[in-house]
């Protein structure tokens, strides 16, 4: 089965584009003319307080929700022009890591990670090999036959990442991947995200209210040759397979601030300062 959706995008065109997106409920509008772009290989970190629409933005970007107005483009395709069947097919080219992992709790770790490959009709031998490869990447190969209920929160999050990357997506969405985890486990998760970004060059949109995770993505990289995490110096220029990390602060349904990590640190804005405490 062809998992590659026909893309109208040129190589340097933005991968994700939001243009004037509005989304509201009867309690009020959450996103009010929200616009931003994510370049190829870029990691865009969405930061905001709870209830500002970070998760909604992730789901809109993946076509899981439709906006009230505005346009959303993903890999050159206008999601508003696609019906649900076309969106289902298109979503096979992306990865999505949900806030609590969202593993299928009646299926084993192996079956969870293999889910997409089974849907695509891959042969059993290849499925097993790729499942093990994904689980090895997240250091969860030993848990291959366990059930999600047997895993801790951090382990479920790691299996969820393995499930998202088993089909080698070009774009990955992370919805608060470290929410509710202790600092040590959070660091493990961020390390995995760094490895994924730097070894496979994925474009990603990461929603979080923890600024330390966002700075970790910006200030560290994974060296595929050495197999370890390194801190970037200020003068270091990211090599071609690593895109930049930029921050986007959400407030009142709009972009409040957008820029690189240094500009966040240098800003005197009191709202941004709240996240740096």
């Amino acid at each position: 089965m062809n998992t590659e959706a026909p893309s109208a995008a040129a190589p340097n065109d933005p991968v994700i584009v939001f243009e004037g997106v509005h989304l509201g409920f009867d309690e009020g509008e959450v996103l009010k003319g929200f616009s931003f772009q994510v370049a190829p290989h870029e990691t865009k970190v969405l930061v905001g307080e709870s209830g500002t629409g970070k998760s909604l933005t992730m789901k809109l970007a993946a076509g899981l929700l439709r906006p009230d107005s505005g346009r959303i483009h993903l890999m050159g395709r206008d999601l508003g022009e696609m019906n649900e069947t076309e969106l289902l097919d298109f979503r096979r080219t992306i990865g999505f890591v949900f806030q609590e992992g969202a593993l299928f709790d009646s299926e084993s770790v192996s079956e969870n990670v293999a889910f997409r490959l089974r849907e695509e009709g891959e042969p059993d031998e290849e499925i097993e090999e790729r499942v093990r490869e994904s689980l090895r990447f997240v250091e969860m190969e030993d848990a291959i036959d366990k059930m999600p209920a047997d895993l801790s929160g951090g382990m479920r999050r790691r299996v969820s990442i393995a499930r998202a990357l088993v089909s080698r997506p070009k774009v990955v969405f992370y919805d608060s991947p470290t929410a509710g985890l202790d600092p040590v486990t959070s660091q493990t998760i961020i390390t995995l995200l760094l490895r994924l970004r730097d070894s496979q060059g994925v474009t990603s949109l990461l929603a979080t209210h923890r600024l330390q995770d966002a700075f970790a993505m910006a200030n560290y990289r994974f060296d595929p040759a050495g197999g370890k995490i390194e801190r970037l110096t200020k003068d270091e220029v990211a090599h071609e397979s690593v895109g930049e990390t930029t921050f986007l602060f959400l407030r009142d349904g709009r972009v409040y601030f957008e820029g690189d990590p240094q500009s966040v640190l240098d800003s005197a804005d009191p709202y941004l300062k709240k996240f740096l405490v």
Partner: protein
């Protein structure tokens, strides 16, 4: 009146909460309630239509279908057989007192057979399976929805209606007539046991009359109704599960509502189907 709107699978659902300090005007409340009802019927119809249409187009989830047939069919067997046995037994006890008065105890087999096959078998079995499986579907799918497993499925390019709803609907439609047939048979056994010990009817007399009393139209009636009942209880259960709002409390509410709505709908539809079947009896079959 504030409300929460969810847009998924082409459906729009609302979960109304009263937030204002003043109670709404009665006319407004009635208007809102009617709108919600119409919206629910619309979304239920869309879900049911898609679930049925998926049967005829690939991909087909045969493994999931077989799993559901096992859970719904084999899993419901003990309760259906037990209920069938006791219903047959109590039918004899109730009718025997009347037949004894007229000296026509030999008609017991006729009465039990007709009542079971035409009416009690399909309806009681439908209600039992609705209580067991419609609630199970609502709670399972509702739990999946509130833990974002349904969204995860969509994010991986799988249609949750095709993967979750269609196998459940088809499995119930296929299994319910078989359960009804077994319930009818065990009900006749229960009726025979009681008639043997209380009316001293011999087995030849009971079974011969029980089988001879049945015509093709009775069997058609008794085995066609479960097709509709199965469709109702499965689609209602799945619909309530996939439209849960309010977290785990909402799952509990949806489970209860699934049983109540499917049970009442089965009983109401029984009236309509009986009328249609009686009209068709002798004309078509």
């Amino acid at each position: 009146m504030a409300s929460f709107v969810r847009r998924q699978h082409g459906m729009v659902t609302r979960d109304t909460k009263l937030l204002p300090t003043e109670p709404p005007a009665p006319r407004h409340a009635v208007s809102q309630a009617l709108k919600r009802l119409v919206l629910s019927v619309q979304n239920y119809s869309i879900l049911s239509g898609r679930a049925l249409a998926n049967i005829f187009t690939p991909p087909h989830y045969i493994g999931d279908l077989l799993e559901q047939m096992d859970m719904i069919g084999v899993g419901s067997l003990p309760i259906v057989l037990l209920a069938g046995f006791f219903i047959g037994a109590v039918m004899v006890l109730q009718t025997a007192s009347q037949f004894v008065r007229f000296g026509q105890t030999s008609l017991t087999g006729d009465a039990v057979s007709l009542a079971l096959v035409r009416e009690l078998g399909p309806t009681i079995t439908g209600l039992l399976v609705a209580g067991r499986n419609s609630s199970g579907m609502a709670s399972e799918l509702g739990s999946m929805l509130v833990t974002e497993q349904v969204d995860a499925m969509r994010a991986m390019g799988t249609d949750p209606i095709r993967k979750l709803v269609t196998p459940r609907v088809l499995a119930t439609i296929l299994m319910l007539p078989l359960l009804v047939a077994m319930s009818d048979f065990v009900g006749l056994i229960g009726g025979f046991v009681v008639s043997y010990f209380t009316l001293h009817l011999n087995s030849v007399e009971f079974w011969t009359r029980a089988i001879k009393a049945l015509e093709f139209s009775d069997l058609m009636q008794g085995l066609t109704k479960p097709l509709f009942f199965g469709f109702i209880l499965a689609t209602v259960g799945c619909y309530k599960g996939l439209t849960v709002t309010g977290g785990t409390q909402g799952v509990g509410r949806a489970t209860t509502q699934a049983v109540v709505i499917s049970s009442v709908t089965i009983i109401a539809m029984d009236v309509v189907l009986t009328k249609i079947m009686l009209y068709l009896a002798g004309r078509v079959f």
